[in-house]
């Protein structure tokens, strides 16, 4: 049938040139449509990510809504949508309102308001139909107060209680509040530093002492005298640390008592009051009174908090510094593992092994492994690295901690190794391609000059192939940084109490579990109490992650393009 078509269309083309079937326009347009859909999807996706990520932290106005049912509420408008009013509600509406809705085809517009005050209302987001609003205003005295617990508070500041002195004059409050917040923050930081760093250090030492004793007792053939000596040493050490602990605890208590004398009384728009310590306030945003510069200041401040601070409120607020740090450390470890081994395997396949059926089938296998689902690597990592290898390491080196696993569970090292295994095919393929792009004439020239094989590889082949290898490594990094499914099995956690690198010996803690940007997205978006409250955080995290990966990829593409150009002129 095909041949007949060709012959018939050929004839027509020769005869007149105006047979429009031969132009195949509908088919060409469907192809153009396919491409346009692809581009449309990419653009829509990027715009969505960029827009939502960039505006998430920009403080909007706070609206005071007087509803038709007589109630008042205040909130920051988030987004609006058209929705279909369900028939039941339509039935309950007044005749006039129903006609209005029916004129719009049964649809109505509603806005989502961030109302905050979770501790008073038990929700912090509310949909309000435009038709339900009587009137709307934006009074200057409404503030949004970001708190360390319970999310933001929207309302007014009624009173400051400083050292028992009550200040309720609004202008006086405005004059003093920011300074007080700053002082309170300093107090809060000081308390946290003692609690986390110094008390944490004491706890660490106590644990170390306990483990040392256990290790001593577990040794075979320990005499009773030695046991007692170890016990006595341990008791003495413990007593010292306990004393230190108590001193620190007293200090914390004193500071907390001081802190609790600085309090603030907040009230929502319906007049319900809430009293709390000033140190619970993270920042105060008088949203309606701010100039554009002021808003940008808040915006910048929030971004700085994001990249530098730790998460709070079940990860939905605060910063993501531990996640950024965890992603970074894990990816670096992965590269350290994958680079030598991947390059070595590729060198073997390309430069050392005798080319034949075996090597080419190994090559097919390696190519295939790049397509094996990442979760399979995760399963392998959990079963082999964490449980099998980790179990052996534990029983040999950390027997005193058992049955609590040290390496026998998910952790940084196992995650890095799992991802290294996942990305090693990518590196092998890229390196092999780069090696095969180095012309044989170069190798032959080098060998003819009397260089050994290793000298040839080291001084001639590898430098030429380096851009290609780097491309492969960067692509592997991009893949590793964005992969989350295997990490869920081998060591990522939603909230890691400690960073993988800190001041305690041995500084880099390979056994610790860590936080990861991609898992942060999953966790905040899907496992927090209120997915709406976590959305801004998810969007900015997404923006950071996608930005990171795009930069890595763009670098790889840039390097590759330069490499191509180099070889176009570089042929012998």
């Amino acid at each position: 049938m095909r041949s007949s078509t060709i012959s018939s269309s050929k004839r027509s083309v020769f005869e007149t040139g105006c047979n429009l079937t031969a132009q195949g326009e509908p088919f060409v347009w469907s192809m153009a449509g396919g491409l346009a859909i692809g581009i449309f999807m990419i653009v829509a996706f990027l715009v969505l990510i960029l827009w939502n990520g960039l505006v998430a932290f920009y403080p909007g106005p706070i609206r005071l809504l007087h509803l038709k049912n007589g109630r008042v509420m205040a909130g920051e408008p988030i987004r609006s949508e058209l929705y279909r009013i369900d028939p039941q509600k339509l039935g309950q509406m007044s005749e006039e309102a129903r006609r209005m809705v029916m004129d719009r085809g049964g649809y109505s517009r509603r806005w989502l308001y961030k109302t905050g005050n979770f501790d008073l209302y038990n929700d912090d987001y509310r949909w309000v139909d435009d038709d339900d609003i009587e009137r709307m205003e934006t009074p200057d005295d409404l503030v949004m107060v970001e708190r360390r617990e319970w999310g933001p508070f929207i309302g007014t500041i009624r009173m400051l209680k400083i050292d028992g002195k009550e200040i309720s004059d609004p202008s006086e409050i405005v004059r003093r509040i920011d300074d007080e917040i700053q002082l309170a923050c300093a107090r809060f930081e000081a308390i946290r530093t003692i609690e986390r760093d110094r008390i944490g250090d004491v706890n660490h030492r106590m644990e170390a002492a306990r483990l040392a004793l256990r290790k001593e007792l577990m040794k075979p053939n320990v005499g009773a005298a030695e046991r007692e000596a170890a016990q006595a040493r341990h008791d003495q050490e413990m007593a010292e640390w306990k004393e230190r602990y108590q001193v620190l605890e007293r200090e914390v208590d004193a500071r907390k008592a001081e802190d609790s004398r600085f309090r603030v009384v907040l009230a929502d728009v319906e007049g319900r009051q809430k009293e709390m310590a000033i140190s619970q306030i993270v920042r105060r945003i008088p949203a309606n009174g701010l100039t554009t510069a002021g808003r940008l200041g808040v915006y910048a401040d929030r971004w700085w908090e994001l990249v530098s601070a730790e998460p709070r409120e079940a990860n939905t607020e605060g910063g993501i510094f531990p996640a950024i740090f965890g992603t970074f450390v894990m990816t670096m470890l992965m590269v350290v593992v994958v680079a030598p081994f991947g390059v070595m395997a590729a060198l073997y396949l390309r430069e050392y092994a005798r080319q034949g059926l075996l090597v080419s089938s190994v090559r097919v296998c390696v190519n295939n492994l790049a397509g094996v689902p990442s979760i399979v690597y995760g399963v392998f990592g959990l079963g082999f690295f964490a449980y099998t290898v980790g179990g052996i390491v534990d029983s040999l080196l950390f027997a005193e901690k058992l049955p609590n696993p040290t390496f026998g569970t998910g952790g940084l090292l196992w995650s890095a190794l799992t991802l290294a295994l996942l990305t090693v095919p990518v590196v092998i393929v890229a390196t092999e391609e780069a090696l095969s792009a180095v012309p044989d004439s170069l190798r032959e020239g080098s060998l003819a000059c009397g260089a050994s094989r290793w000298q040839t590889i080291k001084y001639v082949v590898l430098p030429k192939a380096m851009p290609g290898i780097l491309t492969g490594l960067i692509l592997a990094m991009a893949r590793g940084a964005g992969e989350v499914a295997p990490l869920m099995l081998v060591g990522v956690v939603k909230l890691a109490p400690e960073l993988p690198i800190d001041g305690n010996f041995p500084f880099l803690h390979l056994e610790r579990s860590f936080m990861h940007l991609a898992f942060h997205i999953f966790d905040v978006g899907f496992q927090s109490r209120n997915s709406e409250a976590g959305k801004p955080m998810v969007f900015v995290t997404t923006l950071i992650l996608v930005g990171m990966i795009a930069v890595l990829n763009a670098t790889a593409i840039f390097v590759r393009n330069r490499l191509k150009r180099k070889y176009m002129t570089g042929h012998f």
């Binding site: 326009e25 347009w29 396919g34 346009a36 999807m41 991947g342 050392y352 964005g482």
Partner: protein, 861 residues
């Protein structure tokens, strides 16, 4: 390679060379081995799932003065002690491994004899029916303690074997770590009670007990010598103030049995809501006791073929399934299911769900474990077998040397030992290890009839709330979920990606192509967690609100593209030639915007015209018309059919016709021709759709149906995002690899651009394009995060695009973190990973081989 020269090479160079040789060879090979080792490791982890039991230890001894009959028996968790309730009125306790007699606890009732005995499922309570019509309950508790070695009494212990010593009552077993476990049988006899219904002998009894210590309830069913059946509910309340026990007995008479019934045994289910009375002739009478004051004889069923005597019947743990053994060695499992049509009073019927491999002769003892679905059976000749009820796997088979009827067969509560006592007095304790009795090939991949299910199903339900839970490990719904997600997303992604690749490679300027490809490659590296999040939290609510508009876009877009292509023919030819690439693309972009705008504006009309006003309502309400959906579904098919018919019958005539008209006229005729064809296609399609609908076929319940927010459509979109760049990139590479002289030759022969692409380039690149689609399939099958987040995670077999799914990868991601290391779920999830590995490996290998062949061919062209 090395050249012999007069001058010597520096030694360090030689060493470095040799060292590098070794390191690279060893390193390279070990990396490759390590990567391939994944497969080996997975297989090793999965293998135990398919194995039976391993015998750890077996000891045969002989008991001095063996009992001729045992009414009830039991064993402690650690298989140290065995108690035997003897008809003479005593409980004899022996050491399980050696058969040494330890103590004999008398059941003191003078002048009356034991006529019947019943145990509860957990073997912790015993009810004894006496000849004077009284009933006595006994608590059969083992007291187990672990004490340091130093606290063991120094004297008065006799050694039983290497591990155990005894003081005549307790057994002291040495444990690792200088500890000793003390096991003692400590029965508590309660006062015999008169049930107050009859003082005739209790000839048969069934018993279950429940409640707490201060308020315990016992349900008894008794049959007295005069043939009366009674349901007795004994409630004991402890008055906390006075410490007095108050006993309340309620009696209800059950409907009687037919006269000619020779009663074999009575079984009460664990919840005491069903009573089964088995007759010797193989009939079972099922009483429904759900309303204790109105018991009903719900059903009489023959559980064995005519003429086969019933020789054993016992409930399994969970109180649903009952095992029945016959004199011919057959062993069957029955449970009640809900069934409206059979006409039983409680709308339930007992069905035979499984038949086990027949035993060589009559089944005489059935001993289920109290913590799982494993049970032991023994036959009249002394053959003992341990079987798992769900998988029907024979775990252990102990064949006797000589025929010796068993008097007691006990499976330990932890399902790791079986004890048998034979008439001759020989005892046999077999300790075994069967870590995964519930899985074999059939339970993983075939239909299994689970307890309470109306028919055999493929079911995945791994979480277990209690010991009596029957875990359901069918991988079929998960494999189905993976395939469903992959197919629907490819249905969306493959056409777009391949069309886009052809356009990019053949119709746009190389400079534009140089920009498009990197963009797509960056797209390919977007983490899937981001796509999943966007799909589930942003896209899913929007699509849920605008389903009809989305459906309409799918229809409107091709139609508008088609219209645009006809309009394009009116564009002056030199402009079309000069700027065709980007202008068409821009035009198509406009068309997309137009289609979306039109769909949003027109969706209300669309819904009322096609789906009676509300699409989602239409999906669930089957009396509404089926035609509209069929119309939409069949439309592409009809269009292809029309195209074929046109090509076959009219095209050559049209070409001849075109040859005698001018371009301008041709444009008009062409537009008319397409419009006419489209009209015919619509009419034809409507006819086909109505005809199919009239035949009673409906797309609802098949590929469309109830709408849930996170569904396959959403997954398809998101996964499309993930695979479009991949397929695009590989397909574009393949098209680019077609050498340019082929195109040049075709164009030189006078073929148009499109003809060149369709008849020359595409056939040459076909295998490469196909492998691109295969690689996309491989990626889609294994995608994890998108499915976890956007698919709703419901493991069902349902092609409905508006319903959720659960894939292999999502199940692993969700359940493996909580699975117990080395447990059955853990290994089944490893098997899932292996299946996933195998699936993608096969798909990728096929794609790779096709691609290599294509490359070779392209090089030859």
């Amino acid at each position: 390679m090395t050249l012999r020269r007069e001058k010597t090479v520096r030694k360090t160079v030689l060493w470095a060379d040799r060292l590098a040789d070794r390191v690279i060879t060893v390193g390279g090979i070990s990396v490759i081995v390590a990567v391939l080792g994944i497969l080996v490791f997975l297989v090793v982890e999965v293998m135990p799932l398919f194995s039976g039991a391993r015998i750890m230890e077996s000891s045969r001894r002989t008991l001095a003065n063996p009992p001729t009959a045992v009414l009830a028996s039991g064993m402690d968790e650690y298989h140290t002690l065995v108690y035997l309730v003897l008809p003479e009125g005593s409980i004899r306790v022996i050491h399980a491994e050696t058969g040494v007699d330890l103590e004999s606890v008398p059941i003191e009732r003078e002048g009356v004899e034991i006529r019947s005995v019943a145990e509860t499922m957990d073997r912790e309570h015993l009810a004894i029916g006496y000849s004077d019509g009284k009933v006595q309950m006994v608590d059969l508790k083992f007291n187990v303690q672990v004490i340091p070695e130093g606290q063991v009494p120094a004297t008065g212990l006799t050694s039983l074997n290497a591990r155990d010593r005894t003081d005549g009552k307790s057994v002291y077993s040495l444990l690792p770590g200088q500890q000793v476990r003390v096991v003692r049988f400590t029965p508590i006899m309660e006062e015999p009670v008169s049930l107050g219904t009859s003082d005739r002998a209790v000839t048969a009894i069934a018993f279950q007990s429940g409640g707490k210590a201060e308020r315990s309830t016992s349900i008894l069913v008794t049959r007295t010598e005069d043939g009366l059946l009674n349901l007795n509910r004994i409630e004991r309340r402890l008055n906390l103030m006075t410490g007095q026990m108050k006993t309340v007995i309620e009696n209800t008479e059950l409907p009687g049995l037919p006269d000619n019934v020779e009663l074999f045994s009575m079984c009460l289910s664990e919840q005491a809501d069903t009573l089964l009375i088995a007759a010797m002739d193989g009939r079972v009478f099922r009483y429904n006791l759900q309303k204790p004051d109105q018991p009903v004889l719900a059903e009489t069923i023959r559980v064995l073929p005519q003429g086969v005597r019933l020789t054993a019947i016992h409930y399994l743990v969970g109180g649903q399934a009952v095992l029945v053994g016959g004199a011919d060695g057959s062993l069957r499992l029955f449970f009640p299911i809900n069934e409206e049509t059979m006409g039983t009073p409680d709308k339930r019927v007992l069905v035979e769900a499984r038949r086990f491999d027949p035993l060589p002769d009559a089944v005489v003892q059935i001993s289920p474990a109290s913590r799982g679905k494993t049970f032991a059976v023994s036959t009249a000749s002394g053959h003992v077998r341990v079987i798992h009820a769900t998988s029907r796997k024979t775990l252990l088979d102990v064949v006797p040397a000589a025929s010796d009827p068993p008097t007691a067969t006990i499976l330990s509560p932890r399902m790791d030992a079986v004890f048998s006592l034979f008439r001759s007095g020989s005892t046999d304790l077999v300790r075994f290890s069967a870590p995964h009795p519930e899985t074999d090939f059939a339970t993983l991949f075939e239909r299994v009839w689970y307890e309470g299910y109306p028919q055999p199903t493929f079911t995945w339900q791994s979480s277990s709330g209690s010991d009596s839970f029957e875990s359901k490990f069918s991988l079929v719904p998960l494999i189905f979920g993976s395939v469903k997600a992959a197919l629907y997303s490819l249905l969306f992604a493959v056409p777009i990606a391949i069309l886009a690749a052809i356009y990019t490679s053949e119709f746009v300027h190389p400079r534009v192509r140089g920009m498009l490809k990197p963009t797509m490659e960056i797209m390919a590296s977007i983490p899937s967690v981001v796509l999943g999040f966007i799909a589930a939290l942003v896209l899913a609510p929007v699509v849920e609100n605008w389903v009809a508009a989305v459906m309409m876009t799918f229809m409107l877009l091709p139609v508008l593209l088609f219209a645009a292509s006809i309009l394009w023919q009116w564009v002056p030819q030199h402009f079309a030639e000069y700027s065709g690439g980007w202008a068409r693309m821009g035009g198509a972009g406009l068309v997309i915007c137009l289609a979306m705008w039109g769909s949003i504006e027109g969706s209300a009309w669309f819904e009322s015209a096609f789906f009676g006003g509300d699409f989602k309502m239409w999906l669930t309400q089957s009396p509404m018309q089926a035609t509209p959906m069929l119309f939409i579904l069949f439309f592409p098919v009809t269009v292809v059919l029309m195209g074929f018919l046109y090509h076959r019958f009219i095209n050559s005539w049209m070409i001849r016709f075109y040859s005698c008209i001018s371009l301008k006229t041709a444009r008009i005729y062409d537009a008319l021709r397409w419009a006419g064809l489209a009209a015919i296609a619509v009419v034809l399609n409507l006819a086909i759709a109505s005809a199919v609908a009239a035949l009673g076929f409906d797309a609802r319940g098949w590929i469309v149906g109830t709408y849930v927010q996170r569904n396959t459509l959403i997954v398809g979109f998101a996964m499309g995002f993930a695979v479009i760049p991949l397929i695009f990139s590989i397909a574009e590479d393949a098209l680019n690899a077609v050498p340019n002289h082929l195109r040049a030759a075709s164009l030189a022969c006078g073929a148009t651009r499109w003809q060149t692409v369709f008849f020359v380039v595409l056939p040459a690149a076909m295998s490469g394009v196909f492998s691109a689609a295969m690689i996309g399939l491989g990626r889609a099958v294994g995608e994890t995060m998108i499915v976890v987040m956007a698919a709703g995670n419901t493991p069902i077999l349902d092609w409905n695009i508006f319903n959720g799914l659960r894939s292999l990868s999502a199940t692993i991601a969700v359940e493996l973190p909580e699975a117990v290391k080395g447990g059955t779920l853990y290994r089944v999830l490893f098997l899932s990973a292996l299946v996933l590995f195998a699936m993608t490996f096969v798909i990728n290998t096929v794609a790779e081989i096709v691609r290599l062949r294509f490359r070779k061919r392209a090089a030859q062209l």
